[in-house]
Symmetry: C2
Subunit: 240 residues, 2 copies
């Protein structure tokens, strides 16, 4: 039976961290909020957020329905799919650490989001611009090198060339998507520091060219970054 | 063999979300950074963050070492322990949803933290006070009711009286700790809205009185909230 993925249509956002795993796995799925017709569309997503599924009510998308199971939170959903489709380490220690990595990436993504929404998600960017300018400095100068340096260290420690275990996992796909997002939102900063993390940049390039994702990344299922999403290109927030 | 927990000494923080599960489970563990002697203390924590453990390097505490496994991120570690010690739902769907809840609670906790650090963690609170005052308004008025209302709905849907499944889980312990933190950091606001979420407040009271935790909560192992942690009592950030 196909998985049902629910996420805001029109932006990659946190949904893309799930979608990439489904696509790399070649798993059948419906991207329900982007479909039309009975039981589909954004109304179907809102209905599940209101009524739940067998007692499980998600606070926010993305979430996945698989039979009687509902899983939410991008890092948890990515692990759920990855572990069922050989996109996770094979051994238990590696699986646990891959989950840890994905949760850490979710933190990094939240911090990238908060560069344009440091005061709150219920206000517009334009209403928190001075605060955003301050927070973006810290993100660019402190947080980006810290997180990227951590991934770099993990890749150097693992001769298999992945963040955890002996094969590509959802943790690697999450790093790829985050690098793509940073390339969109902070192109000057990423270019300035990319030379410090060559293994990270190489991983992103290998995943961009990976056979399992080639069709998808060139398809219209792959949504472009835009200013409704997590990674936004506001030139004033970027710098070398 | 005992678990080894690593977290900053001197504050409950995110470490407490792990410690509560270990204590409720009655699992043997060492709180390594709070111990003295060979291989203990904060230096031992820093050594693992630098050198890792079988290739797994945590970005930040809390993290847990269990034999060859290193798990980091409070929500992931809490799930790891809870699922091994009957502090998780028994069925797979419930287990997945409990993981989703714990990850959502981690988001809520990060937002509580960001009320006093909206610009960045590398700056002092005193250097971001105007931004903090703005962010705290949104947190109190929008985010607290949203998250607490969500937990309330889950408790009303589950006749067993827990957030997920038929028994107390690490997800419930995480909500308890978060309510305790809000009671410390936002006492006026929590009192003003507690009447809207009676099932949440009842859950917190039941856990505070739970036999598995009674000894611990009265012991000196239980660290008090303070202004070095996530939940800080800055009177200017609170209001009815």
């Amino acid at each position: 039976m196909a998985y049902d993925l629910y996420y805001w249509p029109g932006l990659p956002g946190r949904g893309e961290y799930v979608r990439l795993v489904l696509e790399a796995a070649g798993a059948p799925y419906r991207d329900v909020a982007r479909l039309e017709g009975q039981g589909c569309g954004i109304e179907a997503m809102f209905a599940l957020m209101r009524d739940g599924h067998h007692g499980a009510v998600p606070l926010a998308p993305p979430f996945l329905v698989d039979g009687a199971t509902l899983v939410s939170q991008a890092a948890i959903v990515a692990a759920y799919i990855g572990e069922r489709h050989a996109l996770a380490p094979e051994d238990e220690a590696g699986r646990q650490f891959a989950r840890s990595i994905a949760a850490t990436t979710a933190d990094f993504v939240a911090e990238a989001h908060d560069t344009h929404h440091p005061v709150g998600t219920t206000l517009y960017y334009e209403d928190q611009k001075p605060e955003a300018l301050r927070r973006a400095v810290e993100f660019r100068e402190q947080r980006m090198p810290k997180f990227l340096g951590w991934y770099e260290n993990l890749l150097r420690l693992n001769s298999a060339g992945w963040l955890a275990g002996g094969r590509m996992s959802y943790a690697d796909l999450g790093l790829f998507q985050t690098i793509e997002g940073l390339r969109y939102a902070f192109p000057r900063r990423l270019q300035a520091i990319a030379g410090d993390t060559p293994a990270v940049m190489d991983l992103a390039a290998r995943i961009a060219a990976h056979p399992a994702l080639a069709d998808y990344l060139g398809s219209d299922r792959r949504l472009a970054f835009n200013e409704d999403g997590i990674f936004r290109r506001y030139l004033e927030l970027d710098a070398d």
